[in-house]
Symmetry: D2
Subunit: 407 residues, 4 copies
Amino acid sequence: MITIKDSVHDHIEVDGVAAALLDTPEVQRLRHIKQLGTVQYVYPSANHTRFEHSLGVYHLASRALDHLGVEGINAERVRAAALLHDVGHGPFSHNVEALTHRHTGKYHDDVDELLAEGTVGDVLREYDLDPARVAELVRGEGKYGQVVSGELDVDRMDYLVRDAHHTGVPYGTIDHERLVRELTFVDGELVLAEGNVQTAESLLVARALMNPTVYQHPVARISKAMLRRAAEHLLADTDCTAGRLRRMDDHDLLVALRNIGDTAEFARRLDARDLYKRGVWAELSDVPDSVLDAPHDEIRDVEERVAASVGVEPEHVVVDVPAKPSMRESTSRVVVNGEIRQLGRQSPLVNALRTAQMNQWRLGVYAPADVADSVGRAAADELGLDIDGALVNDVRAGQATTLDQFD
Amino acid sequence: MITIKDSVHDHIEVDGVAAALLDTPEVQRLRHIKQLGTVQYVYPSANHTRFEHSLGVYHLASRALDHLGVEGINAERVRAAALLHDVGHGPFSHNVEALTHRHTGKYHDDVDELLAEGTVGDVLREYDLDPARVAELVRGEGKYGQVVSGELDVDRMDYLVRDAHHTGVPYGTIDHERLVRELTFVDGELVLAEGNVQTAESLLVARALMNPTVYQHPVARISKAMLRRAAEHLLADTDCTAGRLRRMDDHDLLVALRNIGDTAEFARRLDARDLYKRGVWAELSDVPDSVLDAPHDEIRDVEERVAASVGVEPEHVVVDVPAKPSMRESTSRVVVNGEIRQLGRQSPLVNALRTAQMNQWRLGVYAPADVADSVGRAAADELGLDIDGALVNDVRAGQATTLDQFD
Amino acid sequence: MITIKDSVHDHIEVDGVAAALLDTPEVQRLRHIKQLGTVQYVYPSANHTRFEHSLGVYHLASRALDHLGVEGINAERVRAAALLHDVGHGPFSHNVEALTHRHTGKYHDDVDELLAEGTVGDVLREYDLDPARVAELVRGEGKYGQVVSGELDVDRMDYLVRDAHHTGVPYGTIDHERLVRELTFVDGELVLAEGNVQTAESLLVARALMNPTVYQHPVARISKAMLRRAAEHLLADTDCTAGRLRRMDDHDLLVALRNIGDTAEFARRLDARDLYKRGVWAELSDVPDSVLDAPHDEIRDVEERVAASVGVEPEHVVVDVPAKPSMRESTSRVVVNGEIRQLGRQSPLVNALRTAQMNQWRLGVYAPADVADSVGRAAADELGLDIDGALVNDVRAGQATTLDQFD
Amino acid sequence: MITIKDSVHDHIEVDGVAAALLDTPEVQRLRHIKQLGTVQYVYPSANHTRFEHSLGVYHLASRALDHLGVEGINAERVRAAALLHDVGHGPFSHNVEALTHRHTGKYHDDVDELLAEGTVGDVLREYDLDPARVAELVRGEGKYGQVVSGELDVDRMDYLVRDAHHTGVPYGTIDHERLVRELTFVDGELVLAEGNVQTAESLLVARALMNPTVYQHPVARISKAMLRRAAEHLLADTDCTAGRLRRMDDHDLLVALRNIGDTAEFARRLDARDLYKRGVWAELSDVPDSVLDAPHDEIRDVEERVAASVGVEPEHVVVDVPAKPSMRESTSRVVVNGEIRQLGRQSPLVNALRTAQMNQWRLGVYAPADVADSVGRAAADELGLDIDGALVNDVRAGQATTLDQFD
């Protein structure tokens, strides 16, 4: 048994297949992928990695399994899946995934390959675990998959607490010990035991507050959009394939961007934190459905037309249209007065948080500071935004006082 | 200047009138009044006092004043009010206040007397502060009173964080440093600056989650109701007046209860944590309006009739009808896109939390374990509860696993 | 199984005999005895109790037993002893123990009685545990007694971390998780496994730094000496026996002092934090051996002679001669290169800390502020102190700036 | 004014020249240099960077200046120096500095250049600060330089607390708020005010315990030695100069090592955490003076002779001879009874800690696991180690249980 000291869970005991997996290059690679990607441009302490997060998820999964009374090969499979659940992440975590996904057509299905091949596959088979079944758990399939990936999964419990610890934003400070203790299976469904409506709500609320404050912070979104744009150049202008890109770690990607002519300016801006500014920051109601549903190529065309109309380089216009928010935990189930209820039906908070997320959604258009205003106006025009409602540019003054290290 | 080490805010600097007030018997008395009264029967570490809380409120008020740029006598008055805001509390904080209030007809108006008289009055006048104007601030009146008592007051900021620290329940862990920094006056109103919708929501959510988990935990409510009932005997059966009772501290009250025949059994039960159990735990919709609005004497009559019908001592029946929940913070104001908005209008969370509080409201009937069931049924009958909806007695089994040290 | 939320260890699971013991009046009484007695006059947040500490010791004992692989009746006995180890404490913890000990001739031997009698005895026997054998463990006897009371016991681990959490003084923040994991039995001796010289040193250092800063802080010592003197009056002037005194809790003692003429002034002073000041604060080298070894009665005579010579009430002179410091952990054993070594031989720190403790030792003479100087001089004379070395009175100015809320 | 959220100090306000310096490439580069280099191979959460540390040092310097009453240009210079004190660091912090120092002949003198040139120099001059005078403060020169770099500097205060927060090892948890408040100038010397012997000791002790547990942990030393060896190849075998190396960040260095034939194997081993093992771990008394004083080239010759004699590649033998420990804080000065005393004279701990550091010193010889034993024996012979005392190889078994993630 290996004991590892963690800043969040203190001592983590790693045993069995997990101890063997720990030493594989695939898992060790996660040391070099930041958990929160470009969030560190807002919260400088947010430098924690997918490696320590994976250990944390493994740890909480082990604790949950103990409380659930799951043992033997079922437990061992869950523990392996918990430790491995992020091995498919590309550099800067989610930041370039949409990109590689588009180019490779693979996202979660990739997990099957990753777990079956290389050292990870060897180790799993050595411990008599079928990689395909572990991959199912990573995808949240089956009874035990709910522990790893689902409405009440330990992945979320770890990242909320860990992100709070490392950003300094306390909203993620949930009672993970209680959550892990109160999980129970009823008719094959993972639910929270009686008396835990607040426990379930607190998980929901934590994510709802962390989202705009940390994960979707404007500065994090801007730098992420810049990074993604630079990575597009990498794929278009060099012999780097999407497959190669998604196996890079943060070091590889940053250095590649620095060394290639077309992306060096993006790299310089990211290195110097000389970021684009917002020209548009539009609410959901201001955005036509056609824009919300537009494929990637169309958005790229918009960017080019805007650049041409304003007279700037195409790289100087970034249109950032996030997906509509979903709230997965709304189907979390809790036991109330002896029967299983969907949290969304039991708690008025769930709908409110869904509405709040819709309210927080923003389409952004970013450009270098000196042209942000004109780019913003041209883009609003081009995208058919309700120009009165869409906050063009001037929101910045107001928020600058409250956004950590913004501008 | 005095520097005091605090478990929550680390070093607290006390200066000027506050340093002089600190040494008055009225403020020192708060060392002997627990912040959370009977909550320690649920969370054993919750032994913090009104004294340290008052220091914390003083500290946050000082920080807020610095950020607000308030100086001179206005600031000194707020600091005095912050330190003094709880001197009127009776033993076990809010637990016996309804009682003394009923008997004396005084509640907040009492603050005027307390601040004008005794050593506190002497000190205030010595520092050229008018006790009446400090009392106004304690009551939340005037522009600066909002800092001490209002929708965005520092009282709440301190107690949420402090109660979280001492109970171990993390829900109260708000970002008080940010709150204090983002306060600003607009047209004489205390509001949160631009970009702080989530900051305001987090304050609301923290209280909404702490409420059922800590402040209104069934065990805390049962022991509080027992304590209050015992204190009623003290007033009825001894020469102890309501005025004397409200100036007692926790030690005085507990020892008085131990030493008086009629209350010794309550004292024994509290000392041994041999608490009554729930016979009824009814939702708002199950309770007739007549019960909700019934004066105290009527509820006492119900208790006596129930006791008679079941054949137990009158002390063995406690009917606990809390007031309907209010949510003061819903009128918190935040600046959004340059204009002041009520949080309740901006945030869908506010209404949801109000609904959640209504859902959490419970009427309780408590009795010794062996008669809790029969007392519960008789009381449900007597109170005209919707007996199918009202959870009589059997809720206990389910919750026992999840309520800390509940049996 | 009962799960209890603790501010230090989060969730504590209580099971078996411990769950039954928890509900005894003897254990519940510990809710009403502050862990640090009068230390709260220095650190206002230090209001934690022997009850939560006992739970913490039980928790760490359980964890240690798991790691040590101890099971069955041996483990159950240790868990009972851990939870019960403080039931013999009088009000304000150690503060009046010297007094009751002197009057009853009992100290630790008392544990046998306490565990054999009353509800505790009944519960132990119900679980087939011999109270006498549990008492042995409380006294630290036998192989497993070392876990409860010894150089590396879990009692110390809990109180250092807990006192740090509640005072805000970080020096007690040891790595208790590591300590508990690294305990091992070698030839029946409890030792720390290989690689833990620093772990052992850290435990020693934590106590050495907490001692002068918290446990022996001058203000805590002065108020403790005042409390003890008042309690002496209680025994001398009322029908309260030492046996009754030691079974009081904090409430009983404080209220008793308030209500008795001879001690009411002490009670008033403690309630208002109107404490005596130091007239003498003498180092070990300034104090004759005859004073160090003087029995209690002789010191009382000195106090009376000093009072007479200065012309003050006898209650206005308190001479406080602490025992010489011991450092129990110096015989902690650690495994170094495969052999067991005494920490005192392995670590140069041990001797240094012993010397530091000798340096920190102080004899104090306390009196009301206005006579502290004259009382100090008279006492120094009477005690034959090296008057040049002994700091008479004037130390206060210098330290006042740095002692939290002193003076 | 910019407000930045930090995981350790919560909100950090950056103003004046510091706010302007923050946006320079030289300071932003520190985002990409880990504070603890290879320590993350032991403590996976230790991914914090020089950037957040520099902000923390700036913050504590500002607080200290407030308490010291230093204002105006003197304060502004100190704040600039605090923020800039680490801009000279190469990749992986101290890990490759000895190397670049040897090759460039520059170490601290470099600071003058760095601060005078580039954007940093421009900003300093724009704020009317002489770069040369700021550089003096970075070097700890002059009255105010003591705040930035000296026995009681804020650099150490920040890194101890920060490293504790991110590794999870609590030993660094000092009372930095108190330290900063108790600093005072006496006759131009920075000292701790009266009553702070324990405060000073705690700083010393924290470092003494963090040293072997974190900074000099065997795994951190082995990986650091491997990294340094690989970097030597980079300089010897490519056109990378020492000047270029020291301006790299962590990404640059890791990717460079991966891409160059001679160092790719080191890079693979570091990436996969497939580290060398200890063949020798010798105490100070076992090592001849000639080895302690040997220049770098001689040690390289030893490595080659050992490799040849065992029949392995030269890269497979690493001899790691640390400098003899120093303990700078021993000359910390504290005020005791009104006079300034060196802590080393006042506290018996200082000498003990110096001895402890000598005891902890180890010469290491590292090699791939399968040849660690034979390499160790050959190296012990070649170095003339007292072979009985020097622990060759077999220490590993014992420590493996207690070193976090060590194998």
